[in-house]
């Protein structure tokens, strides 16, 4: 749409008489959206204010503003939750896995969509079947797998005299193991989305590049990556919050505090029979804040990414 057309349309719109039905429709739309916005924002505001109450005050003043404001909850939650150790891990796991998932999904998606082979169908199908598997069903088998692989490699290296008698760790209780499992568990959806998106890129572009002498990796780097930015953005947006909040897998994969992520630290404040609400709320605010800042900083890109990713040419 050029500038002139835009001006004409605005002019036409300006002359249009406002119909009562339009006003009513807008009012209903604003009301519904307002209610949804309130339902989303109010709990966050309530959580924020409640995090400044002592547990004793919270029990007697659940809905009101704090009477005796205290920062003690934050001090205690930070110390008890050992968030100074966990926050770096969360950043590493989230960003490292997102980069890995996006890169590998695009690479594999390109191969499945544009490189024809008899093996494409079965291999693609074997990846896609992963979408049907739930994390809960994988927890114990994954734990068994990582511990037995570590044990196997450790025994082999010990037999060669390459490692000592201590426990050998490659996948269990290591950051590398967490990253590999996170990337692997998100690949089925990523590959599916990227394959379908890249299928929509005209093959003529790739063929032209091949005629000009470009190899597959050059085509991927120069053409596919550039044209797949919307799906890469969508994939990142989908993965970043879920990786940041991931609990079930990391709970199984690591046991040492210096390898844990924020959700495990926050979970320490979930009591079964007793609840220290003040510290629990402070811990939740600490965990939520980075995601909130991420959304505020990248809200335009997030909105654009979601809408662009939803459309395929």
């Amino acid at each position: 749409m050029n500038q002139q057309q835009g001006v004409q349309m605005r002019g036409k719109r300006g002359k249009k008489p406002i119909r009562p039905g339009t006003i009513l429709g807008k009012a209903v739309a604003y009301l519904v959206m307002g209610i949804f916005a309130f339902m989303t924002i109010y709990p966050l505001v309530w959580l924020f204010f409640s995090s400044f109450k002592t547990t004793t005050e919270f029990r007697t003043n659940m809905m009101g503003l704090p009477i005796d404001w205290t920062l003690e909850n934050y001090r205690s939650a930070w110390k008890i939750g050992e968030f100074d150790k966990l926050i770096g891990n969360s950043v590493l796991y989230t960003l490292g896995s997102t980069v890995g998932i996006t890169f590998l999904s695009l690479l594999t998606g390109f191969a499945f969509a544009k490189i024809k082979s008899k093996a494409t169908g079965p291999i693609y199908g074997s990846f896609i079947i992963g979408i049907l598997l739930t994390i809960q069903s994988l927890m114990v088998p994954l734990f068994l797998e990582v511990t037995s692989i570590d044990r196997g490699i450790g025994d082999f290296l010990r037999s060669l005299g390459l490692v000592g008698s201590g426990e050998f760790r490659l996948f269990h209780n290591t950051r590398f193991g967490v990253l590999i499992i996170y990337i692997g568990s998100a690949l089925p959806v990523g590959i599916y989305m990227c394959t379908e998106y890249i299928r929509g890129i005209p093959s003529a572009i790739i063929e032209a590049a091949q005629i000009d002498g470009a190899g597959y990796f050059r085509i991927f780097r120069s053409i596919i990556v550039g044209m797949s930015k919307p799906i890469a953005m969508t994939l990142s947006i989908l993965n970043i919050p879920s990786l940041w909040n991931e609990f079930a897998l990391i709970n199984i994969l690591v046991s040492e505090t210096n390898l844990k992520s924020l959700p495990l630290g926050i979970y320490k404040f979930s009591g079964g029979l007793s609840s220290d609400y003040g510290k629990q709320f402070a811990a939740l605010v600490i965990g939520m804040l980075p995601m909130l800042l991420f959304y505020i900083a990248f809200r335009k890109q997030i909105t654009a990414g979601v809408s662009m990713g939803a459309l395929k040419e």
Binding site: T54, E57, T60, N251
Partner: protein, 434 residues
């Protein structure tokens, strides 16, 4: 000069021996959450053991609720159990007991050491595997009637000794807008664990439950339906309001502390909700009022009870030692040293002062306890006979429909007979799979 050289050499030898002394590493899997009373103090207790035992390295992992059980299941499946772990006397730790994955603590701790504990916690028959797989830190009494005696005396009422007396209080209490009995029934386990277990214990007894699990009697028999009927009666009479189904576990203590109910039924652990919070110095009920205005009582006598005065109780959790540790090894000795420290009179006194539980150790005394804790210990002594807590005696697949059914009775959406049928169906399915 020679002496100095000899001393220096000896010092170096001792130093080098220390440097090369083999440190024993113990992996510990502990069940605790940071909202537990005295969490920070508990960390200090563990740190003291680490400081006092430089030859032992503790690698501790803490989890709670479902993730704890999920991870323990993974450890069992992989055959990589931690050296020392927190466990239940039955229930969710059944596989540890039945597969004998943990050691018998009786020979490891010794008769003299175990003599410091109340006999029922060291009795192996109380545990699933019929051996001392874990040493219970306490006995949990799951039915305690927290009573606002000042409120009652202000209204000219006395603590009821029978259900009929409790019911007779209703007009006076309701006229003042006061709830008779408060329970946090939004959580479905509360009614089953904190009241219905006692009702079943009084009307039927533990033997009846054993027979039901053995298939000799059925939950659809009229005896069990009568117990469910009593729950329905309490709702219909208004002794327990139907709106308690909307009261969450977190909000109930504040309602009771504010004098909005004459009685509050919960487990003994709930006393810690009212104690002074060490971080803020505030208490839901200050120690002075704890002393003068409140008491604990057993639930009054109920119509048709065969076992008067019985209250539900369950052996508490404790620590066990992995069976994979070689007998007589340094690791086994280190694990035993850790357990003896954790169950020492000094550590148990600290846990008692923090309001975590009423310790099973007999020789623990403290003058720093708040009145609610002192009174809870007295309540334990006052209850002479105990019965099963149903969620400790029944499989999860059986008590889940029971918990739900008790809520449905409260809501009036199911009859006692219908609930009994759903429980029996669960028992049939459980028996078929065993």
């Amino acid at each position: 000069m020679k002496k100095k050289i000899c001393s220096a050499l000896m010092f170096l030898v001792i130093l080098s021996m220390g440097a090369y002394a083999q440190k024993t590493t113990l992996t510990v899997f502990d069940y605790i959450d940071a909202t537990a009373p005295g969490y920070a103090e508990n960390e200090a207790i563990w740190q003291r053991f680490i400081d006092e035992n430089p030859d032992i390295t503790i690698v501790k992992e803490e989890l709670s609720n479902e993730p704890f059980h999920q991870k323990l299941a993974a450890y069992v499946a992989a055959g990589t159990l931690p050296d020392v772990m927190y466990m239940y006397p039955s229930g969710r730790s059944t596989m540890l007991h039945e597969q004998k994955l943990v050691k018998d603590l009786a020979p490891l701790l010794g008769k003299d050491y175990l003599a410091n504990f109340i006999p029922s916690v060291t009795d192996p028959s109380g545990q699933k595997g019929k051996y001392l797989a874990e040493l219970p830190q306490s006995i949990s009494y799951t039915t305690v009637m927290f009573t606002n005696t000042k409120l009652l005396s202000d209204l000219g009422l006395r603590v009821p000794s029978t259900y009929a007396e409790l019911k007779a209080m209703l007009p006076k209490l309701k006229a003042k807008g006061i709830r008779p009995v408060l329970m946090a029934n939004k959580d479905d386990w509360v009614m089953q664990s904190c009241l219905f277990s006692t009702i079943v214990g009084r009307m039927l007894g533990d033997e009846w439950i054993d027979n039901a699990l053995a298939g000799k009697v059925k939950f659809t028999d009229k005896e069990f339906i009568k117990a469910l009927d009593f729950v329905e009666t309490m709702y219909k009479d208004g002794v327990i309001g139907r709106d308690t189904i909307q009261i969450s576990y977190g909000e109930a203590p504040a309602l009771f502390a504010e004098g909005k109910a004459a009685f509050f039924i919960d487990g003994d652990w709930r006393q810690n909700a009212f104690l002074t919070d060490p971080s803020s110095g505030k208490a839901l009920i200050d120690p002075k009022r704890q002393q003068t205005d409140f008491e604990y009582f057993n639930f009054p006598a109920i119509p048709g009870e065969k076992n008067p005065g019985v209250a539900s109780a369950v052996l508490g959790c404790g620590y066990g030692i992995s069976a994979s540790i070689p007998a007589g090894s340094d690791k086994e000795k280190a694990a035993v040293r850790l357990l003896k420290y954790l169950y020492s009179a000094d550590v148990q006194r600290q846990y008692l002062e923090l309001g975590r539980y009423i310790t099973s150790r007999k020789d623990v005394k403290s003058d720093k306890l708040e009145p609610f804790t002192v009174k809870m210990a007295a309540y334990h002594d006052a209850v002479k006979k105990t019965c099963y807590v149903l969620d400790g005696a029944l499989d999860t697949s059986i008590y889940t429909p029971l918990n739900l059914g008790l809520q449905q009775i409260g809501l009036g959406t199911k009859t006692p007979t219908q609930v009994a049928q759903s429980v029996q169906a669960a028992v049939d399915a459980w028996r078929a799979s065993h």
